[in-house]
């Protein structure tokens, strides 16, 4: 099956007030996928939640004590999945060293990466000299017949 991809890209200032520009678009895309039967409403909420946490991390952690740069958001709609990349040029972190929160202790912070990992099917983080990229993907429902065009 050809893996036709729709690609959308946002380059936003690394400030929280710009996050909802991309979130609003992602909401629109998820609603459309839901109407096509490719995404349950709960799954749509999960994808949007994961995106917001990723954007927050870039703004609040990657650029902490640094001159704020940009956050680049790449959204790719494939036949069987929705993929998100959130990139920054700030400080990198080691995702494998982020500890899972003790939910019984009712933590008030440290939940972002946990939410991302729990809500998305695949999560990868890569860091090079000039860029950190968080990759996230979520499978679409086969019952939606794959993503409909138009």
């Amino acid at each position: 099956m050809p893996d036709a991809t729709e690609h959308f890209r946002f380059v936003l200032p690394a400030r929280l007030e710009y996050r909802d520009a991309a979130r609003g678009f992602l909401d629109f895309v998820c609603r459309r996928l839901h109407e096509q039967g490719a995404l349950e409403s709960e799954t749509a909420h999960q994808v949007v939640s994961a995106f917001v946490e990723a954007f927050n991390n870039a703004v609040v952690h990657a650029y902490r004590d640094l001159e704020p740069g940009t956050v680049e958001v790449d959204l790719r709609l494939r036949a069987a999945s929705i993929e998100l990349q959130v990139s920054d040029q700030g400080r990198a972190f080691r995702i494998e060293e982020v500890r899972e929160p003790d939910l019984d202790a009712l933590p008030e912070g440290g939940l972002g990466i946990y939410i991302i990992k729990q809500f998305m099917d695949d999560v990868r983080y890569e860091s090079s000299q000039d860029r950190n990229i968080l990759h996230m993907s979520k499978s679409l429902l086969a019952s939606g017949g794959g993503r409909a065009d138009g």
């Binding site: 929280l16 609603r31 409403s41 749509a44 949007v48 939640s49 009712l106 933590p107 939410i115």
Partner: protein, 110 residues
């Protein structure tokens, strides 16, 4: 954005949340909760029927509100949780920590 209303002869304070509860808006909730601790209020209710979105910062503010009201021997209730906030609360198992009245709005379109 939130609105506050006193009911039950002033013993219950209902904070109705609206829109998004996130890093940009939590300060409003935190300030309102601080002002309702102790005194004659016996229960704090967070009404989330018009809350469309919550992130981990917002969850942190709700959990902090729960802990503070408990420390002041006040009741704490989350009401009308639905949509994306419900999904987050389920994941973080917050329904095990405090009373949640989900009303009738279980699931809705994104």
């Amino acid at each position: 954005m939130l609105t506050a209303e006193l009911t039950d002869g002033g013993e219950t304070c209902v904070l109705a949340l609206q829109g998004s509860l996130d890093g940009l808006t939590v300060a409003e909730l935190q300030k309102e909760v601080e002002g309702r601790l102790g005194g004659s209020i016996r229960q704090l209710v967070l009404d989330m029927s018009r809350l469309e979105f919550i992130d981990s910062s917002g969850v942190g503010a709700v959990v902090a509100a729960f802990k503070k009201t408990r420390a002041h021997r006040q009741g704490f209730l989350v009401r009308n949780l639905r949509g994306q906030p419900l999904e987050i609360f389920r994941l973080l198992r917050l329904d095990r920590a405090f009373v949640i009245d989900s009303g009738s709005g279980e699931d809705d379109a994104p």
